[in-house]
Structure formats: C-alpha cells, structure tokens
Amino acid sequence: MPETSITVATAAIETAWDPAEALERVGGNESLVRQLVQIYAEEAPKQLEKLRTAISADDSETVEMIAHRLRGELSYFGLPNTARKAHDLERLGRNHDLRNALQLFAAFEADLLIGLKAMERMLENDKI
C-alpha cells in the first residue's frame, strides 16, 4: 500500500470519531462508555457480515432490520455520517429495492471500519 494512503487513513481515523459526544450522552460515565464501545467493537463486525449476506440474498427485510439497528447505535456513539449511510440502506430494505445496496454497502463498510478503528484506539488509551 502506498505511504500516502496510510497517512490519509490514519488522519481519517483520528478525525472519524470524537468520544466526547458519547460520553456526554451516557451522563459522563467513562467506564460505561468503555463497556458500550467494547460491546460495539465485538458486535458491529458480526452485523456487518449479516448485512452483506442479506444483501447478497436479496433479503430486504433483514437488510432493513440490521441497517436500522446499526443506524441507532452509530447515532448514539456520535458517528452521524456513517449513521446516514446506514439509514440509506435501511430505506432500500424498507422499499424492497436492493439494486444499489451493494454499492452503498461498500461505502458504509469503509466508514464503519474507520469508526471501529477509532473506537479501538480509545479503548487502548487510559483516558477518553
């Protein structure tokens, strides 16, 4: 991988997520934010795989349900742009039209993975 893209990715990770919003949402409880991020870091990749499978299987109902769930979580953690992409996928599922879903999914996945990296970094740090 060329060095420039690594730099871009690192910069993207650093700006992808600000835990302050999540911290404020849970009432300033740092240990609770860590617990929730931990759960999310384990759960989100599984949901992502389920979503990919559902899109391939043209299962719009499951697409709607998983995208809906991911959207709620992303909004809560303070990742509005990624949440918006999840919302778009949710709408495709609700409208039973998954023609553009795979393309949208790729963009969503890329965003989400960056977000997850940012969360993992936070977990490695002593303080939020």
């Binding site: 849970v26 609770l32 929730l36 999310y40 759960e43 349900m65 809906h68 979580e73 909004s75 809560y76």
Partner: protein, 340 residues
C-alpha cells in the same frame, strides 16, 4: 357471581412507593440493553433485561409481572408493537406502563405505537434526562393507579362488612347463604344455618349505655367467629342478631358448633370496661339441604330461635324442617339440644 363476595376482603397489594419499581427492558440491541440496565440501576429501579419479545412475553405471563416496561419497537419474533397489543388484550388487575423505544421518527409509527397500547414513546438515540423524566411520569401514573385500587378495595370491604363488628354485612351474608345453598345443591352436601341472638341486649344498652352495648356486640362477634370452623361464614344479621353459615355441615357438626358458640359467649363474662357483662345467646339452628328456598330455611332458623327464647334463653334449638327432610336429619321437632 358465586364466589365474588367471599373474595371481597381487602387485598394486600404491593406498595410501589416503598419497594423499587420493577422495570422490564426488552431490547435486542446489546448496547442499548446494557445502557438502559446501567442507567436504571443507577436510578434505583429493579431491572430485568431480555433480548427478544418472546422472552419478554414469557415474563409478562408470570404471576408477578414488572410494573413498567421499556419495549424496543423492532425486535426479531414478537416485536414491541405486538407485545403492547397482547398486553392490552388481556384483562389484568395490575396495570403495566409501557414505554416504547424506537429508532423511527415517522409520526405514523408513533401513532400506531400509541394505538397499540403504549403509554409513551422515546426515539433513539434517546437523551438520558428525557428518559429519566419519562420514567418519572410513568411512576406517577402507576402510583396513582395503586392508590385507586387501594381505595376501591377499602370501599368494597366497607360495602360488604359491618363497621362495628367487622363481620359480613346483612346483604353480603344473605348473598353468601344463597351461594352456599347453591353450591351445596351441586355438591350434594348440606349447609348449617345458625341464627344467634344476644339475650336481653336491650337491657344491657339501657343499663350500661351504648358504648358498653357496642363492646358486647364486638366481643360476641369475635367469640362467634372463633367458635365456627375456618371455612364457615359469620355475618351481622340485625341489631344483636348474627347469622353463621356452616358449609358442608351434618346434624352432628351443627350441634357441636352451635353449642360451642353458646358456651363461648356464656362461659366467660365480657370485659366491657368499666363493666363486666354476663352475656348469653339463644340460637336457632337448621341443616339446610337443597330441598327448599334459602328464605324458608331462614324462617325455620328464626322460629327455632324464637323457641329457644321462649324456653328460657341461653340454649340451642334445632329447627323444624319440612317433615321428610326432618326425618332424614334425625331430629325431633323443636329439639332443645343444649342449654345452661
């Protein structure tokens, strides 16, 4: 309503204000589930969490259900909307306050949630202060409902019980008698009726005053209640007249219980301070089977009571049943079975 009156004693219901409110959280998303659990525990709620609607319904079908439900709209299997519908479709004494959680912000979804029986809703991602305030609102409704149930139970008790003695009221006693005779007819068993009257009660009132008279009535009522069997009923039939209904009662038992009542009153003077009152009762008794109307049996018990009074009081007289029944019961007409 054969059993309605018998169940009308005040019910001890749980006090939501004293014990922590029990909240059920049904949420398939592990993050929101953990978040809600943590917050609710911090706010001193008792929390049960489940990850799907099927498990939630199982908990809601148990005898003691949570008071307040936080249900996620979208769950695999039984969703929050369906849970609301099921909950409201059943007739349940305990009201459950339902807060529906939804990521949806469409007005129509909120309307259908409320129509399905939700009391309130909260859209995700929800705000900690908003959730807390909505829970408080739910708590207020629940405690108001609890107070209403308690007030209703107290009124129900007052309506069916005699205020002075705490015994069943006249109306409730007659209702119980009719039910018991019907039940006896179905089960082919007999019912004992004892009409118990305090002797010379008017002179107690006239001599010692009404406060002493009331005390005599109260203590006589207690002694009668203690003398009958645990499954019998005792009511205040009139001023100084009591009616005991003895379920599944044969002539021997009738005789034993009637005599027990007579001696319970007569053997020990009543401590009605400042006076000690030597009270006695006269009792008219009858064993009723399903061959006649309840009022006929009351008339028979009443005649037997009159007979007991006429014969000198402080005694039990077994009443005259229609002749065929009477022979079956093995009594002679107007038999005096006990007296002082």
């Amino acid at each position: 309503m054969p059993d309605a009156v018998a169940k009308m004693a005040p019910v001890a219901t749980s006090q939501p204000s004293q014990s922590p409110l029990h909240v059920l959280v049904a949420e398939d998303d592990p993050i929101f589930r953990r978040l809600l659990e943590s917050w609710l525990q911090t706010w001193n709620y008792q929390v049960t969490t489940v990850e799907n609607g099927t498990d939630a319904w199982e908990i809601l079908c148990q005898p003691k259900t949570p008071d307040l439900l936080i249900l996620d709209w979208m769950m695999p299997g039984v969703d929050g909307l369906e849970l609301c519908r099921r909950l409201r479709a059943r007739q349940c004494e305990q009201y459950q306050y339902v807060l529906l959680l939804t990521g949806k912000d469409d007005k129509q979804d909120i309307v259908s949630g409320l129509n399905a029986g939700a009391d309130d809703y909260l859209t995700k991602p929800f705000d900690i202060d908003e959730l807390r305030a909505r829970l408080r609102a739910g708590k207020r409704i629940l405690s108001l409902q609890h107070e209403l149930i308690q007030a209703r139970e107290a009124l129900r008790f007052d309506a069916t019980h005699d205020a002075l003695t705490g015994l069943w009221s006249r109306g409730a006693t007659l209702h119980l008698l009719a039910n018991e005779l019907q039940r006896g007819a179905r089960a082919n068993s007999s019912t004992g009726i004892l009409m118990v009257d305090l002797d010379h009660f008017k002179s107690v009132n006239d001599t010692y005053g009404h406060l002493v008279g009331d005390e005599v009535l109260k203590q006589t009522a207690q002694r009668i209640s203690q003398a009958v069997r645990s499954y019998d009923f005792v009511g205040r039939y009139g001023g100084e007249e009591f009616l005991a209904i003895l379920t599944d009662c044969n002539p021997d038992e009738l005789r034993v219980v009637a005599e027990r009542i007579r001696s319970a009153v007569a053997d020990i003077p009543i401590d009605a301070r400042p006076s000690n009152i030597q009270a006695t009762v006269s009792i008219g008794a009858v064993v009723a089977s399903n061959q006649a109307h309840d009022l006929e049996f009351l008339a028979i018990a009443d005649s037997a009571l009159y007979e007991a009074k006429r014969a000198g009081r402080n005694r039990v007289v077994i009443g005259t049943c229609p002749s065929r029944l009477f022979r079956e019961q093995g009594f002679e007409k107007g038999t005096v079975i006990a007296h002082a």
